[in-house]
């Protein structure tokens, strides 16, 4: 089972965890991305996330399907937030349940690593003295 969301609303971490729990599962791995107060030593004021929503939903669904093919998982959840996020806020939650923990860990890591490479969502770092779209330039 797959649950995908791209939303401007705050992500509900306890609800995400409840959703992936199941009586067949022995282990759940949850990755929570948080807005860090600095990047490469430079203070960050806030982040802004923009998504091409229908395509992001599609790419996230593909990733979840790939994970379900590669590992014996029960449930896979990927939620990503858009809009302006202050330091400490949560842009992404990925949660995976499985009978055994190795599959949950491996799948969760695959999902966040691949999400960052393929899902059409863009992050702008806002500094005291300007702003930068992350990864845009070489």
């Amino acid at each position: 089972m797959i649950d995908i969301k791209v939303t401007e609303a705050p992500l509900d971490i306890p609800a995400c965890i409840n959703w992936v729990m199941s009586p067949q599962s022995g282990g759940i791995d949850v990755f929570i991305g948080t807005v860090r107060d600095a990047t490469q030593g430079k203070p960050v004021l806030r982040l802004e996330f923009e998504a091409y929503v229908p395509m992001a939903m599609r790419e996230m669904t593909k990733l979840a399907e790939q994970a379900l093919e590669k590992w014996p998982l029960h449930k896979v959840l990927l939620h990503h937030r858009t809009g302006v996020l202050p330091i400490g806020d949560v842009p992404v939650v990925i949660a995976v349940s499985a009978a055994h923990r190795a599959a949950a860990f491996d799948a969760c890591r695959f999902l966040i690593d691949t999400l960052k490479q393929t899902v059409p969502i863009w992050k702008k770092e806002i500094f005291e003295d300007g702003e930068v779209w992350v990864a845009a330039h070489p």
Partner: protein, 80 residues
């Protein structure tokens, strides 16, 4: 034919708006559209890379565009 190209992230900043209309030949490929966009917006050449999505899927260079396709320019992604 005219195709409408949606833009996100830095591409929206480069276009100065969330979409541009581009005049292209019938049966234009994705590769030709990319060149046309680079000619019209030279700052695109400074990006690490950019992709074209057609109907919410990453498109290959030789994909042929249709007038009714939803086309988007996808600069390097950085979610998560």
């Amino acid at each position: 034919m005219k195709v409408n190209v949606l833009a996100f992230g830095i591409a929206k900043d480069i276009f100065g708006k969330p979409a541009v209309a581009v005049e292209v030949e019938e049966n234009t490929t994705v590769a030709t559209l990319k060149s046309a966009l680079e000619a019209q917006f030279p700052r695109l050449k400074q990006l690490s890379s950019f992709m074209i999505a057609v109907n919410s899927e990453y498109a290959q260079a030789d994909n042929v565009l249709q007038a009714r396709d939803e086309i988007a320019i996808i600069p390097p992604v950085s979610g998560g």
